[in-house]
Symmetry: C2
């Protein structure tokens, strides 16, 4: 499985993914699930992927091929040239639909699941920060102020902390801590989600991204994980007793 989370805040986009994939518990591997597509100063897009790896890799490969084609002077559009981020998400949704149409019945005939979902976040020059969740059918939903975050994969373990702390006005620094704590809870409770992590931040208006690979021995991540565990224990000890 996978756990990916994306936040659309006033200050920017914060996206985090793990790197574990598994076909059964005896076939575990490490794949990057985060891809950044950027035309610096013009637009920056970050895509996180969950679900059938052959499907999500095919979608990413096709999006890359389209970019190469357009950059080489070919006709048509790619996610870096559409008028808006919304149209870029539409395009990614169409690619998802095409791959599903090509592959899903054969995959399912083998008894495997072809489901795949993407978190698609980005900003173009002159546009707003946008964050979409694209489904297997190519349709999508968008994060807004009421729900500023989207999750794909093993999302339940790490949802409570996001529900408690994430607001549209949350700062990037707070948001990074929140997604890391959300991931930390998921890592502890579900073996199918694993280190290392990939973190991407696209600050509003910068039209470029910052990316960080967080390995298991990353000192600040370890500190966050340990400090959170200790604080929870202390918070827990301070709770009042219930009489029964």
């Amino acid at each position: 499985m996978t756990y990916c989370v994306g936040l659309r805040l006033r200050a920017g986009l914060v996206m985090l993914s793990d790197t574990r994939t598994n076909a059964g518990v005896d076939n575990i591997a490490r794949f990057k699930k985060m891809q950044v597509f950027e035309d610096a100063g013009e637009r920056s897009i970050c895509i996180l992927a969950a679900g059938n790896l052959s499907v999500t890799q095919s979608v990413i490969a096709q999006l890359e091929a389209d970019i190469d084609h357009v950059r080489a002077g070919g006709r048509g559009e790619c996610i870096l040239t559409t008028e808006t981020i919304y149209s870029a998400a539409l395009l990614a949704g169409q690619v998802m639909r095409d791959i599903q149409q090509r592959d899903s019945s054969s995959i399912m005939a083998q008894g495997a699941a072809a489901d795949a979902t993407l978190l698609f976040g980005g900003q173009r020059r002159g546009g707003e920060l946008r964050l979409f969740q694209i489904y297997s059918a190519g349709n999508f939903i968008e994060a807004g102020d009421d729900t500023p975050y989207l999750q794909i994969g093993e999302h339940k373990y790490g949802k409570p902390i996001l529900d408690r702390v994430i607001r549209p006005e949350t700062t990037i620094e707070e948001a990074i801590k929140a997604v890391l704590v959300s991931m930390d809870s998921t890592l502890r409770s579900n073996l199918s989600v694993g280190m290392p992590l990939d973190l991407c931040v696209i600050r509003g208006g910068e039209l470029s991204h910052k990316e960080l690979r967080i390995e298991a021995d990353h000192p600040e991540f370890r500190q966050i994980s340990d400090s959170w565990a200790a604080s929870l224990r202390q918070a827990f000890n301070n709770l009042p007793n219930i009489k029964i």
Copy 2:
């Protein structure tokens, strides 16, 4: 849906269930999912149920009917008369299997799910504290020192806190707080789990139970919920920043 959790500690059994059931989001109701069967001083058993309500109610009704039958001098056994708690769980598993055989194909023919699971915890005079999770097929697993808790229904939201604080030597008082915090996180993140709650404690060797219905305005539960939220916020504020 449902969220039920049971702990098997050195000190006793702690079991907690919500009361929300739903057939679609437009058909929400309140049903007690906790049943206690007791022959005080001899044995005490607490059963929590998740899944198809018609199935779990049928199982409970049959277990009650068997008890009535035996108490009226009828032949055969019931969960209060089997030699051990293990045999009582076997008996409940057999009832589950019988009900599934009778009902599940018709339920599934209507497009509904017949899955059901039980947490079955108890102690008999002279025996150990036991806690089982009984599946739709009537088979079951048992909690042990390595994993002293079992969950059924919407278990993922509330799992991280249990992983962090529950050990076999956890006291009953701490355990009650832990299951309430686990439930609180689930209630905040999943609408299909709802107040009021039912809490049952069977202390080791007492062979009797204590039960508490916790309504939404229960003052200590509100205090736990609010204090936990405030502590998490504070713990969160104290986390170190990650540079990117």
